[in-house]
Assembly symmetry: C2
Homo-oligomer: 321 residues x 2
């Protein structure tokens, strides 16, 4: 009877924490979830999560060997193995790698969700074989995981890769970070809703979007309106792609990546988002890089992407050694 | 009698090519130069340069052992070991590493001057011990050498690190690259001259700079006027530092470097340039990075910096293995 090696992947969200067992080929053999309940503290969450992982492993009746635990979490510091003062969770500093080691006597690795997504893409998805690429995650905000020479750019303090907070429009829209003109104030699920408001103010044409209570307007509704041909909704994606493409052109000058990989809910819009992004990047980029850099969708199953990315943290470390 | 190991460093400029012998501690033992004369072709230049290096070595009467040849040149491709279609030199593709190997049977390494400067700084200068930092070279243009995880970011095609061509002002000044709003159109020796013209148009105050024939206005004259208290000249440095600081803040979000190291003629202005740059960076940077990132001057002797940087290419490769 052969024993299969698996890495556990944990993704900590504000509401739910998901986990699963992933083999070296990126098959998610089994998965589960618990409520994050941040108010109960981090120790409680990790106890519940480890219990869930233990049960998954036990159900395989000694046929699995766990090799490590990868964790994707907000405000994660790769170097320290910690989650540090995550605003949305209300914790202080949590030494996750220590908790993993105490429970499993195995290596733990932690980073933010965008870096985990990049490693997932490199191990299992559309960045297989790439040594230089950038993962862009489009959710409520804009995250990025930057790979240079086959490894994540963590920078001096562990917090590199914040392309959502480069200034794409000086003195532009206020951002959640307190500054003005950040890329994620334009290119994100919340950014595109703000763009819809801007365009409804600017344009006089009728639009399905005008029928909504503003607080109910979401990127999904803009997408649906765009798919049904709504002109303002389609323009929202052009506008978003224009900003994103210009930011990617700047990133090309710095990093010369082989590809950008876009992931997250908004990328379901497909060509509506990818075409104006590609056009804007090519129009903006330094000529030496023209028609050289790919823009690709994620190659990971969206349902398991967070678990695959977190587990990839472990496989990536093992492949390095 | 002990034999000392040296690396040869060659820096190819549009007019002059300088070369020298550098030991592992960054002592430049001996140096020389030849006219580049690009119209005579690359082969002629390398023959003359190798002859010069051979003479330097011969003068040490077998007390030196050459370990490799590093070359800093425009349009250099590290991966291919080539200079590729340098506009100012009028050559096609020159396989420099092959020429080095044919003459010396030793390793050759080539990159552009900004990357060489970064490696020089890491081996011999103010970035000793740093694994993540960014060298900014301020000359006619703005070059950058980016170090991540202890190595230069070359990117997928070898041409990464072009921070001079990130867009700092959308639809702004025309740049030599053909696009608009590039950082180097503002922050460089030519950029500050354009700033002087802008400010003389905008401000009504008297200035020494108004006395010059416009074609004779240089960054050096602006510096001299600023040092003698000229208000517009001083404002030129504030304006330049403001743009540079905002660009550094964006680079911090992406790379989280330990430090920026500024080098090149304009940095002789010292506080006149460094203070507004630092102030602008701190005002612009994401709060998690505030007061964390140093801005330092070069730690290399300006007279030998180009030779030291090129020779550092060899010492860096040897230290990696």
């Amino acid at each position: 009877m052969s024993i299969k090696k698996v890495a556990a992947g944990i993704d900590i969200g504000g509401t739910n924490t998901v986990f699963g067992l992933v083999d070296v080929d990126g098959n998610c053999l089994s998965q589960g979830h618990v409520s994050t309940n941040p108010q109960n503290g981090s120790i409680s969450l990790f106890e519940n999560t480890f219990k869930g992982i233990d049960e998954l492993i036990a159900s395989y009746d000694s046929k699995l060997k766990l090799v490590g635990v990868g964790v994707g979490a907000p405000n994660a510091n790769f170097y320290n193995g910690t989650i540090e003062n995550p605003v949305n969770l209300g914790w202080g500093v949590v030494n996750v790698v220590k908790l993993v080691h105490e429970h499993y006597k195995l290596p733990g690795v932690i980073t933010n969700d965008a870096n985990a997504a990049a490693l997932g893409e490199m191990e299992f998805g559309n960045a297989k074989g790439m040594k230089n690429f950038i993962e862009i995650t489009l959710g409520t905000g804009l995250g990025s995981g930057i790979v240079v020479n086959g490894d994540i750019v963590y920078g001096h303090d562990g917090f590199a890769g914040e392309l959502g907070h480069v200034i794409i429009k000086p003195y532009g829209r206020k951002c959640g970070c307190g500054r003005k003109g950040c890329l994620e104030a334009y290119v994100s699920a919340t950014g595109i809703v703000r763009t819809a408001l801007t365009l409804m103010a600017k344009m006089m044409i009728d639009s399905e979007l005008r029928k909504y209570n503003i607080l109910e307007l979401t990127s999904k509704k803009i997408y649906e309106a765009a798919m049904s041909g709504d002109i303002i909704a389609r323009e929202c994606f052009s506008y978003t792609g224009n900003f994103l493409g210009r930011a990617l052109a700047d990133a090309v000058a710095a990093f010369s990546p082989e590809a950008f990989i876009l992931t997250g809910g908004m990328t379901k819009a497909g060509d509506l988002l990818f075409n104006p992004t590609k056009e804007s990047m090519e129009n903006s980029v330094l000529s030496v890089f023209q028609n050289k850099v790919k823009i690709l969708p994620s190659g990971m199953d969206a349902g398991n992407a967070a678990i695959l990315g977190s587990a990839a943290l472990i496989w990536h470390e093992l492949h390095k050694n």
